[in-house]
């Protein structure tokens, strides 16, 4: 299905603004973004005024808007990178695409500008194949197909609900890895989209992501907030947690998750070594949650994303809540989130 068939009016692009001056960012993305509606959410901790160039169809939300909609007690949920979740909440569109404000369009191996939005939409509107691995990757793209030995009954695939893109230049490494390899840049453009198989877990990065709000919206939650969470990706795990929950939920609901194209070009900022001091907390937490996510099973009765989140929250509270108050809090947030979604998120 070509992108032309998808109404541009079905798409929202959500940008979490952690920098006040978005001029360069917006201008770089103009060729891609100008046809769409944008939701810009300003990090409530950012004091400076946002600078956004003309020529875009957008709505901007700041701390006062967030306070007004969810109440100032709840607005803490949306601090830092998590501000974008407010955009997910207030959007009314079918698809959401979100990139970090330190990323610009990448170029492919032929030197052409990558239209990340178009690629994400293609990913979300073609089927995913989570039940059997296709060795030629995405069988629905031009020039490829299912290989010999791929069962025919599985060739219609399932709906893709989440599309995870990648990053050239500064890849999404954790602080220790980046500190150890300060010169390492990702220059390898891997020309593939593939479905992450069912029951396989992966680290979902929030840097370059798109999803079906209609199918999966409530499952992306700013639930896990580190005590020392900061304003650099190295200092967060909100997207990793959110992504693990979303993957489990997709597996349960029979939805697909794709990874690969599109790439964005991620710019440098921050000092990995400084972040190293803070990030160990997130790294440590990850170790504890893996066995949980690998074994958690949701009941048959959970048939919507909201139901699944409520069940996940229960499981988190029971199985992880004892080991660290961070998880007990995450479970609470997940339950709050579903209520918030029902109140604010549904039209």
């Amino acid at each position: 299905m070509s992108q032309a068939n998808i109404e541009k009016s079905e798409i929202d692009i959500v940008i979490g603004a952690l920098h006040s001056d978005l001029t360069a960012f917006m201008n770089e993305w103009k060729p891609v973004f100008s046809q769409f509606h944008l939701i810009v959410v300003k990090d409530p901790d950012l004091s400076a005024e946002l600078l956004i160039p003309e020529g875009f169809n957008l709505d901007v939300y700041t701390k006062s808007d967030i306070d007004r909609v969810v109440g100032s007690a709840t607005s803490i949920l949306f601090s830092g990178y998590s501000c974008r979740y407010f955009g997910y909440l207030v959007s009314r569109k079918k698809y959401i695409i979100s990139v970090d404000d330190d990323c610009v369009p990448a170029r492919d191996n032929n030197g052409s500008l990558v239209d990340a939005v178009a690629q994400h939409i293609t990913n979300l509107t073609t089927p995913a194949t989570p039940f059997f691995f296709n060795t030629l990757y995405d069988p629905y793209c031009k020039g490829a197909d299912f290989v010999r030995g791929y069962p025919f009954s599985l060739r219609s695939g399932v709906t893709c609900a989440l599309s995870c893109g990648l990053w050239l230049n500064l890849a999404d490494y954790d602080a220790p890895t980046q500190a150890l390899k300060p010169e390492q840049r990702n220059s390898r453009y891997v020309d593939a989209v593939l479905t992450v198989p069912a029951r396989s877990l992966m680290p979902v990065s929030g840097i370059n992501i798109a999803f079906s709000r209609e199918l999966l919206g409530p499952a992306l939650i700013p639930a896990l907030r580190l005590a020392g969470e900061g304003k650099l990706r190295w200092e967060t795990v909100e997207d990793v947690w959110s992504g693990m929950c979303a993957k489990v939920i997709c597996d349960h609901l029979g939805l697909g998750v794709k990874t690969g194209l599109p790439y964005v070009w991620r710019n440098e900022r921050g000092n990995a070594i400084e972040s190293l001091r803070k990030e160990w907390e997130g790294v440590k937490l990850m170790e504890e949650v893996v066995p949980f996510f690998q074994s958690v099973r949701l009941p048959e009765s959970a048939i919507t994303a909201e139901d699944c989140v409520v069940e996940m929250a229960k499981a988190v509270k029971e199985q992880l809540g004892q080991s660290d108050p961070m998880f007990a809090r995450a479970a609470e947030v997940m339950v709050e989130w579903v209520k918030l979604w029902k109140k604010v998120g549904s039209s």
Binding site: T135, G143, G149, P176, L180, V196, S200, T259, L276, V290
Partner: protein, 475 residues
């Protein structure tokens, strides 16, 4: 022993056999000469044994035709297919090497996007020597590759990976499609070079193609039986598929990894889709039963060797697939015969490979408690090894990423980590230390770099201590 920043890829020429099934000729070897000439070939001649297959000069090979197979295996030869490239698995059985590379005789050297010829064998060797990551998917694909790594959120305890048992390569030009797809898209060519190697996650099945395949015979060899195909059988072109489902289930059970992706070869010959359709016909609807079967197979814990797993699998094939068609009873019998034949031909038994990178008699072990300030020379020649150490401390967990390092087992109290580690070909070693007594504390990386590198201090109290980096000179 010591790694440099980019270690040369070992040729493994005395540890790898190239198995080629053929029914016509081996002219294609001329193109592969620069890459294959140092290796021993095992040629399995299918079809008429009275025909002479011409092997290009200069290759070291052994050739087996049907008469040889019958002679060597006696009545057990019934498990080896006739008039089908499935006969190649005979080559796996009689090989005495650790690794096998198998390639079809219509596969040629491909070129990468820069126009360079691809040394497929070298890439397969890299794939087999580096760990796989079946327990958690890395979104940047193979983390051990030059220029890549594990992404944020990838659990550190899983970064050691698992031993790679199989390396599944791909094909440019004629893609490996089934007959119906070939009929619908006769002119489709695979022109997309996807520059990635990745591990197929545990619990996921895939269609394994035998055209460009390498594996560790010691880890998984006995499971690489390519089934009963061809002459006298109701099915063809499912030999590699069958083996692929079996090996994947067994690899998942034993904790081995299966990789797919690079290298590409150039597949030149499209077989006749109508002939293929006749061969595949039963397979196409049988696989609808086979896939759920393989997806739900559970191997009991006491199946600790490949042979045991395979025999157990054959029992389950008989029990659950026998009712789909009588063929599966015959296949189950053949699976048992195969294991018997394998064990006869390989009497020392399939000893599972120890550790990721094999035993090394010249391994040296570093004493981590070596103290620079004491002026002791220590046992280990620090100044000959390029080392970078990055350490991070928490109260009770410690993550250590040395570039080139070996350490004593008492530093690895976590039950999840093996007793001894060796350097990987990238010169990396992953450790998870959970013993509070062995905390090493980082001050800042710059401070590490600024200090003259000769030693390492270990403290027990968890407080910041003066830290030296270990950056020696390359040997």
């Amino acid at each position: 022993m010591a790694g440099t920043a980019v270690s040369p890829i070992p040729l493994l020429k005395d540890e790898l056999d190239i198995v080629i099934p053929t029914i016509r000729n081996l002219d294609f070897l001329e193109m592969w000469r620069p890459f294959f000439q140092s290796y021993h070939l095992i040629i399995v001649q299918d079809g008429d044994p009275s025909k002479t297959i011409n092997v290009p000069e200069g290759f070291d090979y052994e050739l087996y035709n049907r008469n040889d197979i019958n002679r060597i295996l006696g009545p057990k030869a019934s498990c080896i297919s006739f008039k089908d490239s499935a006969c190649r698995c005979f080559g796996y059985m009689v090989s005495k090497k650790k690794y096998i590379y198998t390639i079809d005789d219509d596969c040629f050297v491909a070129k990468n996007p820069s126009g360079q010829e691809i040394n497929a064998l070298e890439q397969h060797i890299k794939n087999l020597l580096c760990p796989a990551t079946p327990f958690f998917f890395n979104t940047l694909y193979d983390p051990y590759r030059e220029g890549a790594d594990f992404v944020r959120g990838y659990p550190f305890s899983l970064r050691e990976g698992a031993p790679t048992a199989v390396s599944h390569g791909l094909w440019l030009n004629i893609p490996d499609y089934d007959a119906p797809t070939q009929l619908v898209k006769p002119r489709e060519r695979n022109t997309r070079y996807v520059d990635a190697v990745m591990t197929i996650p545990k619990g996921t099945l895939f269609p394994m193609c035998g055209m460009n395949l390498a594996f560790d015979r010691e880890l998984i060899g006995p499971a690489m039986y390519f089934g009963l195909m061809g002459d006298g059988q109701p099915i063809g072109r499912y030999d590699d598929m069958w083996a692929g489902w079996c090996i994947k289930v067994i690899c998942d059970h034993l904790g081995y990894g299966v990789k797919t992706g690079l290298p590409y070869i150039w597949h030149s010959k499209a077989s006749n889709p109508f002939v293929n359709l006749k061969k595949e016909y039963k397979g196409i609807y049988w696989q609808e039963e086979l896939i759920p079967f393989f997806q739900s197979v559970v191997l009991p814990k006491d199946c600790t060797s490949v042979q045991k797993c395979y025999l157990e699998l054959s029992k389950q094939v008989r029990a659950k697939l026998g009712k789909v068609d009588e063929y599966f009873n015959k296949l189950a019998d053949a699976m048992v015969t195969w294991i018997e034949a394998w064990d006869e031909q390989n009497p020392s038994g399939g000893k599972p490979a120890d550790m990721l990178w094999g035993e090394s008699s010249t391994e040296e072990v570093i004493d981590l408690t070596f103290d620079h300030e004491s002026g002791g020379s220590g046992k280990f020649p620090w100044n000959r090894i390029p080392i970078e150490v990055l350490l991070s401390c928490t109260a009770d967990n410690l993550y250590l990423w040395p570039r080139v390092f070996k350490c004593m087992s008492h530093l690895l109290p976590s039950p999840r980590t093996p007793k001894r580690h060796r350097l990987d070909p990238q010169g990396r070693l992953w450790l998870l230390l959970t013993d509070i007594k062995n905390i090493i504390v980082l001050d800042t990386l710059q401070q590490l770099e600024a200090n003259a590198p000769t030693g390492l201090k270990v403290r027990h109290d968890g407080k910041t201590t003066q830290q030296k980096s270990l950056r020696g000179r390359c040997p």
